[in-house]
Amino acid sequence: MKILVCISHVPDTTSKINFTEGDTQFDTNGVQFVINPNDEFGLTRAMWFKEKQGASVHVVNVGGPETEPTLRKALAIGADEAIRVNTPATDGFSVAKQLAQVVKEGGYDLVIAGRESIDYNGGMVPGMLAKITGAHFVNTCISLEVEGTEVTAIREIDGGKETLKTSLPLVVGGQKGLVEESDLRIPNMRGIMQARSKPLHVKEPAEASAETSVSKFEKPAPKGDVKLVDNVDDLVNLLHNEAKVI
């Protein structure tokens, strides 16, 4: 089985979010970038398929050279090869078109992407990629088993979960549950050394127009101070009469 894991290069969850150039660009100054958490759960599940079922695992990112350390980290965790499509990730649709090209050329059976990235929260790349490549698609996937070409997946739904049967080729929008937090791997020195000599292919982008573009960013309006109360009578009164939520 050939697996492709899509890796987004995103600001660490503790990052302060600021914008520059007249609020049109994300300010990367002082920001630490990481593998998108939803993608890391997928990558770790892919490692299981590699170790238990002999799958090969490639990782891919659409982005500039600044994203290569994030791909190297994925190689250090255990992916075999990395691909970087050399174009800025502008909108989800164009990223999905770039990835579709990689999937077609690489003949992957299973593509695992995160349910959404924690920066733009678009949640559209896995579904679009599946639709463009004609693969089956399971979103918000919290469990994935593959036997031959038969797939059993569990999907999180509002208020519960749903067990699905499908087959390869498949695209998965993954999240926590594919593996547990405690299963995530911190690259060890050997992995980091090996990652340096693993292939990282830089691929020129396919033609793909962006269908959406950000005109400007805004930050939420500053919030008023918290109203502290010292008893539950006052709290219930305020929630009823002032906030009108109960």
Binding site: I118, G127, A130, T140, D158, K161, K176, S215, E218, D230
Partner: protein
């Protein structure tokens, strides 16, 4: 030309997010000088969608669509959009809405913007505001394609009455279910889900252990609320992952969010930020949550929460 809206139902009943989506679609239609067509899959009483602004409802009634199937539902919506010549397609941000929207967008070669928080700033060019960076910021995004797909953020617009008389029309498009089969659905029917809840009661490490969740559930019961928890609590296995709210867990956009014994890590606050009113109960006055909350009590949760439950019971019996 029209605005098409997909209206989600469960066992025939339209969800509140469906009413909200129709209300929102009506707002866009008014800006564009056109009308709203709703599409419903196995929904009952479809004419009721007129109350929120639909002029026409395309009714799909088909047992083959009893279980949600993203590919088939997306086909239905895309075909409805084509038939109606829709310029804008509106979907909700439910698990199913987010599953099918990207498929609809590809079929219609349409730009898709999710997590939209309000009516467009302009319709020509078409610019909408969406939340990004898990509610830490907003982006005003322009959609450049002739057809636009909008994912409406939950509880962002609200349900608005727009008395319109809706005509209904049977609609039986061709669709493909792909090769995905639902084997089983495991869903508690007696519990309020975090996705649907108007009130969410959430517990953190300050509660010291899973055995102390009884009072959280008591509080949730009296408020008709869903229960949730912070990331450490789900990581330690005190509560199921499905209750984890925050940046890497579930987003919350309820009317009222009550955080008990949660310090308020930046990732947690990001995930619950879209809630309208936030209350914190914590014994540490320095907890970051107090900076993000609207109301707070500095005190021991083990004393305050049972008092709050009693007070709310009394309040509910007086205001019933």
């Amino acid at each position: 030309m029209s605005v098409l809206v997909y209206t989600e139902s469960e066992q025939g009943k339209f969800k509140k997010i469906a009413q909200e989506a129709v209300s929102y679609a009506k707002g866009i239609a008014d800006m564009m000088g056109t009308t709203v067509t709703a599409v419903s899959v196995n929904g009952e009483d479809t004419a009721s969608l007129g109350n929120y602004g639909a002029s026409k409802v395309l009714e799909v009634n088909n047992d083959a669509l009893k279980n949600f199937n993203a590919e088939a539902y997306a086909d239905v919506v895309a075909k409805a959009a084509q038939q109606e010549g829709a310029q804008v397609v509106v979907l909700s941000s439910s698990a199913n809405g987010k599953y099918m929207a990207p498929l609809v967008a590809v079929s219609l070669e349409a730009g898709y913007v999710p997590n939209v928080t309000g009516l467009p700033e302009s319709t020509d060019p078409f610019k909408v505001k969406q939340s990004v960076f898990t509610n830490k910021a907003f982006a005003v995004t322009e959609i450049n394609t002739p057809v636009k797909v909008i994912g409406l953020a939950k509880n962002a617009y609200g349900v608005k009455e727009n008395d319109t008389s809706a005509t209904t029309e049977a609609f039986s498009p061709e669709f493909s279910k792909g090769e995905i089969e639902v084997v089983s659905v495991d869903k508690a029917t007696d519990k309020v889900t975090i996705a649907d809840a108007e009130v969410v009661v959430s517990g953190g490490r300050g509660l010291k252990g899973p055995e102390n969740w009884g009072m959280i559930e008591d509080l949730a019961n009296v408020l008709g609320a869903a229960t949730a928890c912070s990331k450490p609590v789900s990581d330690m296995g005190w509560r199921p992952h499905s209750e984890h709210v925050g940046q890497t867990g579930k987003p919350v956009a309820s009317n009222l969010y009550i955080a008990i014994g949660i310090s308020g890590a930046i990732q947690h606050l990001a995930g619950i930020n879209a809630s309208k009113v936030k209350v914190v109960i914590n014994n540490d006055p320095e907890a970051p949550f107090f900076k993000a909350a609207d109301y707070g009590i500095v005190g021991d949760a083990f004393e305050v929460v049972p008092q709050l439950v009693e007070k709310l019971k009394e309040f509910k019996s007086q205001n019933a």
